[in-house]
């Protein structure tokens, strides 16, 4: 019980996010209107994804320092949950996009090719492709130590290449997506102070949920590996 306070916190924060996100007053901007409520879900997914990938790479570094296979499993599972969050971020983004960006005379599917050339979308696609490639690489090797070592090396290399480009690309390309100058959603001018009351708890809540799922998966994998050893 004494260790599960953060799980309870996660559930409470998410309940607060859902209730607050749907019921609280939001500023109605032109073209955005009520869809701004999606901020509490869409943006939080990306925050959660980045935080989970960062945790994953930290565990990869720890693996290379200690050669303890436990950290390799940690890195793998955090990356997996990060991918799920990224996919959800795409899904919520697609819903949002179909109400705000898509040409009303044109169905979403047909205007997709024009909209997908977005630096933020490109960056997210790169991130997901990289981590899917990491999964393919890591799971294609049978030897356990080798799998862990090569996976960790690729994870660190990919992370170090990915994150600068995610931050750089949107600043050099034209974009419809908000958050071009500076840090999206963290700027004081970007976001209404009332929304902040829900937004920050939402980020923390979703991230904690991601970490929770990852720890469950880690425990499951460790048990399975132990069974295989016997």
């Amino acid at each position: 019980m004494h260790k599960s306070w953060w799980k309870i916190a996660s559930v409470l924060l998410l309940i607060y996010t859902v209730i607050g996100g749907f019921l609280f007053e939001v500023p109605r901007l032109l073209a955005l209107e009520e869809t701004i409520r999606n901020l509490y879900f869409h943006v939080c997914m990306w925050f959660g994804m980045m935080i989970l990938f960062t945790i994953s790479v930290v565990h990869s570094v720890r693996y290379l320092r200690t050669f303890n296979l436990k950290y390799d499993i940690y890195a793998r599972q955090y990356a997996a949950v990060g991918i799920v969050m990224g996919a959800l971020g795409y899904a919520t983004g697609a819903i949002w996009m179909s109400y705000t960006w898509a040409d009303p005379n044109n169905p979403t599917f047909q205007s997709f090719a024009a909209l997908a050339r977005e630096p933020k979308l490109i960056g997210a696609a790169i991130a997901l492709l990289i981590y899917l490639a990491y999964m393919v690489l890591r799971d294609s090797i049978t030897d356990m130590d080798k799998k862990a070592r090569i996976g960790a090396v690729y994870n660190i290399f990919a992370y170090a290449m990915l994150f600068p480009s995610i931050w750089i690309l949107p600043r050099v390309m034209d974009s419809l997506h908000p958050g071009r100058e500076g840090n999206p959603a963290l700027n004081t001018s970007d976001i209404d102070s009332k929304m902040r009351l829900v937004f920050y708890p939402a980020v923390i809540g979703w991230t904690l949920l991601g970490v929770w799922i990852a720890t469950l998966k880690i425990r499951l994998t460790i048990i399975r590996e132990k069974k295989m050893m016997q």
């Binding site: 290379l64 490109i122 960056g123 696609a125 790169i126 991130a127 492709l129 990289i130 490639a133 393919v136 690489l137 294609s140 090797i141 080798k146 070592r149 090569i150 960790a152 090396v153 690729y154 660190i156 290399f157 990919a158 170090a160 290449m161 990915l162 600068p164 480009s165 750089i168 690309l169 050099v172 390309m173």
Partner: protein, 203 residues
């Protein structure tokens, strides 16, 4: 190094460049500059994979053991990076020459564009050399290199294409900050390769 021992592989890459560009010449004639630019960088990407992948994938186990006994991993990977960079620079110049011969020459700022091509070839070769080392250790073929490498290289390619579009348009100037950014990324790749290669090296 490998290309001097096995000269057929070097000529193989040369032939690959020639054949690909000839196929393109058959497929389209005189593309407009944006298409030219896109095609050029995609071809560069494939040339790079073909030229650089060999450096680790075709080394035999015994020879790696020999290198292991005579050199430190840092020196070894630096030597590989240097050699592959040179190789890729030569290949880039050759493909640029063939491209402008067959597909027309839309460049308005010739020397700047050569600079960009060299910079791009260098960057590509660095990234793919390190990925070749990973792929070789995973005992995979060149296909996994493409899977691992394409997402990593997209940002660099995007920046390069934007820069070279500027080299085609007479009015646009090439932003120096982006060039410096690319150089910084290349430096980072070298640094990472030197730090991380020792972990790949031990078997």
């Amino acid at each position: 190094m490998l290309e001097i021992r096995q000269q057929y592989s070097f000529y193989g890459v040369l032939l690959y460049i020639g054949a690909t560009i000839f196929v393109l010449y058959m497929a389209i004639d005189e593309p407009e500059s944006r298409v030219w630019n896109g095609l050029f960088w995609v071809i560069q990407l494939f040339i790079c994979i073909n030229a650089v992948a060999k450096s680790f994938l075709q080394e035999s186990r015994g020879r790696m053991l020999y290198f292991y006994s005579i050199a430190s991993p840092g020196d070894f990977v630096l030597a590989k990076l240097l050699f592959n960079s040179l190789l890729m620079l030569i290949m880039s110049m050759l493909s640029l020459f063939l491209f402008s011969l067959f597909l027309g020459n839309p460049m308005t700022k010739f020397w700047q564009f050569i600079g960009l091509v060299l910079l791009g070839g260098w960057g590509l070769s660095l990234v793919f050399t390190f990925l070749a080392a990973i792929a070789a250790k995973a005992q995979q073929n060149a296909a996994i290199m493409a899977v691992l490498g394409f997402p990593l290289i997209i940002p660099q390619l995007l920046l390069l294409m934007r820069l070279s579009n500027a080299a085609f348009a007479p009015l646009l100037i090439i932003p120096t900050s982006t060039v410096l950014l690319l150089i910084a990324m290349d430096m980072m790749v070298i640094l990472l390769a030197v730090i991380l290669f020792p972990y790949l090296w031990k078997d």
